[in-house]
């Protein structure tokens, strides 16, 4: 089995505070790994280290076998992309959706005609011509998330990091985006690192999960095993805290 993302002994300190402590995991080619934790668990810092937005104090990250630390910004972006909770902050407010996609394609694939790929990407994430001509602020939260996913997929990355990517959406819209993400993964070529606080979301879209607490992974394994027969006390506490009605 090939490994898309290999993380070994990752550590990040801020002064005396260790935000990420000896974090190691593998993400298989085409796989989906959940990184679960509450605020302060270090899950978002881990994502930022993977994206090169912060520099790790120790450890190594390999994407498709290539050490991330040796790669330039553009090469790194070709391998690993991220979708945030609210893409309004990461989309250029002055660019219409179509232009925003064209911009990414021109940067990464200069000389190639971008129009057919823009059409293909829009189609893939379920956006029509009306949305293609719209500015980010004219779109709903779910539509903006579709744009962010299309932009991330434009470079054909091996790994897509989804940082609470469905957390801010209405439940009825959240299910659409989860379905879209499942569809994209089934089509092949990309693996997911799903960063979330939501165990129910992890249960429906990941095959492996790692539970983080205070910078460390306290438990990891196949999602079905971890969520049905948790071994760590903290995983059990998280599961017991999920609101469930008795009828």
């Amino acid at each position: 089995m090939n490994i898309d993302l290999e993380v070994r002994g990752l550590r990040k300190r801020y002064g005396t505070f260790t935000a990420v402590d000896e974090v190691s995991f593998d993400l298989a080619e085409g796989g989906s790994l959940g990184l679960v934790g509450e605020s302060g668990s270090g899950k978002t810092t881990t994502a930022r280290l993977l994206l090169g937005l912060e520099r790790a104090d120790a450890g190594r990250v390999l994407v498709a076998g290539r050490p991330l630390a040796t790669l330039g910004r553009r090469d790194r972006a070709r391998l690993i992309q991220i979708v945030f909770q609210d893409p309004l902050g990461s989309l250029d407010p002055r660019l219409a959706v179509r232009e925003s996609l064209t911009e990414v394609l021109r940067l990464h694939f200069p000389g190639e005609p971008s129009a057919p790929r823009v059409a293909e990407l829009l189609d893939r994430v379920g956006l029509g011509p009306r949305e293609a001509a719209a500015l980010p602020r004219e779109l709903s939260g779910g539509q903006r998330q579709r744009v962010a996913i299309a932009r991330a997929l434009a470079v054909r990355p091996r790994v897509l990091v989804l940082d609470e990517a469905v957390a801010a959406l209405d439940v009825s819209v959240q299910a659409q985006i989860l379905g879209l993400l499942a569809e994209i993964r089934a089509a092949g070529g990309v693996s997911y690192l799903f960063i979330t606080h939501d165990l129910a979301v992890v249960g429906c879209v990941t095959d492996h999960v790692a539970v983080m607490r205070r910078g460390r992974i306290v438990e990891s394994g196949p999602t079905a095993r971890v969520l049905t027969a948790p071994e760590h006390e903290y995983t059990r506490l998280l599961l017991d805290s999920v609101p469930r009605h008795a009828f």
């Binding site: 209405d170 009825s172 299910a175 659409q176 429906c204 999602t223």
Partner: protein, 308 residues
């Protein structure tokens, strides 16, 4: 205790009323859920109960708290109403508290005018004890940054309880919190209700969460109540297609490896007014009559199909 009667609120430059003729009651010691997605009007309903509607809104209908009409109250009457009748617990405790003021000063200020500074200070300590904060005498001297999110939410709840209100309005009181903290706060609210017999209107987008604490639930969609009933009944046999769609769309830990079926489309914003039933454009059971006229809420459900 709280009666909302045919309340309609229309904001300027919008295509449909944000609140569209809703009626709702909360009895003493009853916890009632108001569940809806963005644009459903649920938070605006809470603001209406506090008499906090925008000045340029067009309002009709009545909101009565123990018989007194909130919409016609004087400013002084409203101030009393917000402390002693209906107090609000906000979503984000960090936004509700000033970072420059000690916890004790924040709590004492609410009561100082009525009972004097000294009594207000000792009451602040009592209130923190009531909401289960350890070492309350030390907490009153602390600043918000010294407390965790869950502790701050307890402070916000203590502030709401300061005037011994008859009704608590909780607008997504746990949405900004971690899941383990959320479970603690829900436990606290349940416990407070048992001890103080306070009524509560619990506003949330999360049906599952509503089910864990509410006796009855109202489901709102695009400004209207589409279904209401006892929590148990509503979850066991949802009758409105929106309620059943929303229940099905909720990811569940118990449904490992299965994707929840989505509801197509999205909730309408205030600039769009689908004719007839507002849910019709997204409804799997839509018929011609659905878009002709809005189905009235009959027997707890506003759906043409449910009446057949």
């Amino acid at each position: 205790m709280l009666e909302i009667d045919e309340l309609a609120v229309r904001l300027p430059r919008t295509a449909r009323p944000a609140i569209d003729h809703i009626s709702l009651t909360v009895a003493a010691n009853e916890t009632v859920g108001l569940v809806g997605e963005s644009g459903s009007g649920k938070s605006l309903t809470a603001r209406a109960v506090l008499g906090l509607l925008p000045k340029d809104a067009q309002i009709s209908g009545e909101i009565r708290m123990d018989g007194a009409d909130v919409l016609t109250m004087s400013p002084a009457g409203l101030r009393r109403h917000r402390t002693h009748s209906a107090a609000m617990i906000y979503q984000d405790p960090r936004a509700a508290l000033s970072p420059f003021r000690r916890i004790g000063d924040f709590l004492a200020e609410i009561l100082r005018e009525e009972i004097g500074a000294k009594a207000a200070r000792s009451r602040a300590v009592e209130l923190l004890e009531l909401v289960g904060l350890s070492e309350p005498e030390r907490r009153v001297r602390q600043y918000p940054h010294e407390l965790s999110g869950g502790m701050l939410q307890r402070v916000v709840i203590a502030a709401a309880l300061a005037g011994e209100p008859r009704l608590l309005l909780a607008d997504e009181p746990t949405t900004a919190l971690d899941v383990t903290t959320q479970a603690e706060i829900i436990g606290l609210l349940r416990d407070l209700r048992a001890r103080m017999r306070t009524g509560m209107l619990f506003i949330t987008h999360d049906l599952e969460l509503a089910a864990t604490i509410c006796d009855r639930v109202y489901v709102m969609y695009a400004g209207r109540i589409v279904e209401t009933g006892l929590t148990r009944r509503l979850f066991a046999e949802p009758r409105h297609p929106y309620t059943s769609g929303l229940l099905a769309a909720t990811p569940r830990v118990s449904a490992l490896g299965t994707l929840p079926p989505a509801i197509p489309g999205r909730p309408p914003d205030l600039l769009s007014a689908p004719p007839g039933c507002r849910f019709a454009p997204r409804c799997p059971h839509v018929m011609d009559s659905c878009t002709a006229a809005a189905p009235p809420l009959v027997d707890g459900v506003a759906c043409v199909k449910a009446e057949l």
